[in-house]
Amino acid sequence: MKRTVTIASALLAVLWGAGTWGAEHPGKSQIEKDGYKGPATCEECHPGKTKEFLGTVHWKHASKVDNVDNLDPKKEYGMKNRIYTMCNGNDVVNNLKEIPKNADGKSKFTGCNTCHPGDHLNDVGSTGPAAENAIDCLVCHSTDYDFRQRKPFKNEQGQVVMGQDRSTKAALAIGKPTVKNCMVCHETAGGGVLVKRGFIFSKDTDAHAAKGMVCVDCHKTKNHKIPTGFDPNNWANDGLRVACGDCHGDKPHKSADYNRHTAKIACQTCHIPRTGGAVAKDFTVWEKGSDGFYEPTTLKKEANETVPVYAWYNKTVRNEPHFIGPKGSRKDGKSKIYPFKIYMGKAFYDKKTGQLLSMDFAPPMANGNTRAGVESAARTLGMKDPAAVAKNAVPGWQTIYFGSNHLVTKAKALNCINCHGVNGVFNFKELGYTDAEIKKLTNPEIYFNQLIEKQKEDW
């Protein structure tokens, strides 16, 4: 009962959203009259929104993190400063800049903070009136944004600026963020289209998109705090969380046979049977493209092209130089079995400490010299003798488990035989089941009657 109410209200919200979609933003006529002058224009009617935004993950690319091993609980972590092998740079060491000229005498701009809604002069985590005025409100709120404007360039003082569309035209198309507003950045996370998570949010790939839902219908945002979940690699968070159960409860099925599994098996395990995006990258060797610039060598896969790995997860994270992934066990009373996208990245490690090193992308992008990138990053971080660090650095692989939380399907959800059949998707032994239990769990006795019933229904 309660569950149907939540879903009904969520659906209602969707329909309502669709209904008001055509409705105009009440501020439109005034913006038309006065023109758009940046966030100050919005502040006139929405006081406090700009200052509020400066405190969020989307501005800071960092927050305190309390569920990951080997971190300092007093410090903030995120894409600002993290060192791992999905992106071997970060906002600090791979700061937006013009790279050295390549062999053809060409240069270009690159840096991790191109995915930041500021102007780079007011960068990740900056504060004060200048920062408030630099926020790109329209990248999330306009449906008429001209992305030719959102490009880095050099101003008269020679500083690298990240451009924005600040036209009045764009400011006349204000609304709640659409899928595209979010995907502008999220689709290209990890250095290219569908590299990091490989999720396309379209009616063909996601049951919720098929119902007309958008990102913020689930990621219900309060004062610009956007809720997230517990992906072992999404460390920075705004303190709010979203879960499937928020709307569906833990007994969402007509069939009791499925409902009995939700205590031990996460919704995603059955409802997201595929994953996608890059499966491996080599940051120690970059490949030259046709434009004469180099990119990390990357093994790419389509959305839905790979199968996940299953593991117990209690929402705490093992974090070591060669491994980032879920902690948990069958026995701890808190874990469920979740699906993960496995990714492996090769990068340089510090010969002395064994710690993973990071990289400034500017040198390798120009000439393929990856050790020069390590040296530049080591210098930025104030490490002792950066040249020696780079020269002695040892290549190695890191295994990373990414959460798999989109691409929801009902029709292709795992059914009894996908798991309990002899050739099922689970490795019961690795998941901690005894031989005797496995014998029982893979015997047709478990599912035979249910599937016979289903067969009768289907035919």
Binding site: F147, V193, S290, E295
Partner: protein
């Protein structure tokens, strides 16, 4: 009312099924990487567009027809522009090179 919509949907899906089957049977997918030299799209409501790619390997110009909404939208708001390098898969249907995948290669 609801039923008729459902029936229509089923018909549409069946029709689509036949189409894509025949597509698979007759045409084969061609892959290429190339730089966009020209985009032709007729306004905000366009349901189709063409992009001319210069094939990196052969240096030949290939005109690709694009019909999927996601890519059309990227032309309209200029997330994809002339000069971008594209990884493209297409099929030859009725003499046209119809795009099945059209994606920027670079990211970082």
């Amino acid at each position: 009312m609801k039923k008729s919509v459902a029936v229509l949907l089923v018909v549409a899906i069946v029709a689509l099924g036949i189409f894509s089957l025949s597509g698979v049977a007759s045409a084969e997918e061609i892959k290429m990487v190339g730089v966009i030299t020209k985009i032709d799209i007729a306004g905000k409501d366009a349901k189709t567009a063409t992009a001319t790619l210069k094939d990196n390997k052969t240096e030949k110009l290939v005109v690709i027809t694009i019909n999927d909404d996601l890519t059309l939208d990227k032309f309209k708001d200029h997330r994809i522009v002339e000069g971008d390098e594209i990884r493209c898969k297409y099929e030859v249907i009725d003499g046209k090179n119809v795009s099945k995948l059209f994606r920027k290669t670079a990211g970082c």
